[in-house]
Amino acid sequence: MPEIKGPSLIKVRDLFKIYKLGEERVAALNGVDLDIEAGEFAAIVGASGSGKSTLLNMLAGLEPPTRGSIEIAGERIEKYSESKLVEFRRRHVGFIFQSYNLMPSLNAVENVALPLVFRGMDKVKREKLAIQTLEKVGLKKYMRHRPTEMSGGQQQRVGIARALVLKPDIIFADEPTGNLDSVTTLEVMKLLREISGNGKNTLCMVTHDDNLSSYADRVIRIKDGKVIENIKIQRG
């Protein structure tokens, strides 16, 4: 196994994911090495079937790799048990979904506060924190609205607030604009850029849309389960 070194927040070495489809073995990831530094906004770009989603799932600890190592925030998570992974996510990870995945019976504040509920925070404290975070994404006046009463863009902002509320070390976003129209996509991307700020938060976004990579500090291009390009973009 290759040595892991450097100041990176995420270090992936020689990562394989092989699915068995009957007799055949399909390699979704075929030896991935990458580093993402703390405070970076990284975009993992690739066509569908390239293995980019599998990579994200593995980074977020949703799926175990077949082989290789993943180190995030100083923890080697590739051999973690499921309950340890949950624990790990609770401490370090925020997640933004493509289809928002808000709880339909909860309003915006309650949705944002949900990860805090899982942490056992008391109601007054978590509501305060949730409202503060909603304010950051510009949705304070919608805080008592339920997901069904909001537009897709608004829902995704709630989703972003929910990922932010924990002040995680890293936020993963799985095609965050995949369900949005171009105008809203622009808004959401601006927001993500804003959140990433200047090294305040580490973001790792998966997308198939090459245009969106322009918002990122680093673009990692994936094809056939391999990193074919990994460039740092200098922003002025």
Binding site: R90, F97, N101, L114, D174
Partner: protein, 462 residues
Amino acid sequence: MRSSDLISMSLGSLFKRKIRTCLTILGVVIGIASIVIMVSLGIGLDRQAMEMIAEYGGLTQITVTPGGGGMDMGSRNVGGSDPTAYLLTSKSVKDIASMPHISLVSPILYVDAVIRGGRYERSGQVKAMSLEALKEKYSDFAEGGLPKEGDTLAFIFGNMVKKDFVDYKTKAGFWDTGKMPNIDFMKSPLFTIFDVEAYEEAKNPDSSQSNSGGKEENAEGQLQKKGPPKKYLVPAAGVLKGGEEDYFQYSYDVCCDIEAITPIITKVFRGRPIPGQPTNKNGKPYREIFYNELLVIVDNVDSMEETETAIRQMGYNSYSNTEWVEEERQSARQRQALLGGVGAVSLLVAAIGISNTMLMSIYERTREIGVMKVLGCRLMDIQLLFLCEAGLIGLIGGLIGNLLSFAISFIINTITKATTSVIPGWLALAGIIFSIFVSIFAGYIPSRRAMKLSPLSAIRNE
């Protein structure tokens, strides 16, 4: 996760699927109600049986009778040289009284007597016992009360004794005419004749001659005295409470203090055998008075068996309700198990309903559960969430089931006009606890399944 959040989230998801939740709860309600009602019927029947036993002498009472052949000397073949060995005497009373766990021992003597009041008379037995025994057995008086120590002889009359009085000329009484004899025990003078044989003879010489032919040989000398026997003026000390139709076990009793009656009968039958008392080989009476029975009361139900065994070892016979109670308890247990089992079947069906509902709900909420996992909800909390939902179904079902049981129990008791169904507090509580327990049990497998769902299901896009 805080338990308050856990409960409110569980309640939230139950509330979201109102109709399904209601139907599932309904299953539990019916299950619990049927168990509680069935067991309550068992308890009611058991209680009725115990009340009946209590009416027949209670649970701590032992009746001791003479050993061997009893008071009839002709058939006595035990006791060796002393034919009175196992008869009940004042010594027997003392012996039994010295045993542990005894709260009362009283001799009981049945004395034949004719009681006359106005133109009515009652020919029958008077039950004589100690004052303590009278106090123990007869407590509710309509008029008068218990005799006191040192009082002259006075009788206590049961509330229905009047029915045993007959017109002494026509021989017709309540049972013939349906008319209640008009006697006021407390006010009208009552006369008592202890020498019944002589009394009957004086009234009707021919019939008594032929009736008591056998006995005449024994009491030859005494029967020569002709003329009516002495009448004693014995007042009533009290009349037991109760209407003329309110039967209970002492309703037909006439009783008195044994200390007050023995001097009188000894005097009446001086030199002759007292009727009912044994005589020796020569037909002569013994000095002592032998009691028909001893009444023994034990201070707790658990010492009954031990005490009875000890009494039997002394050579006496004894009778108590212990065996009856034991039999009754055993059959009550069987009955309750059977009835409870019938109820349990419907709860089992309800439990399957819970499992089914929970499984369906988990499939529906696969995505939600996945999201919760991605957001860092502990696996244990996910399981707890579902167990909590199941438990809430059980709790609500149990509570409503209990209310329903109380209603049904009330209806049953109203229809049967008796306490056929009894729901004690412990049964209601046990019903709720059982309901929660069964529901959680039913929710266990679904909750494990929820816990094991992959977080990836949250990522998949429809």
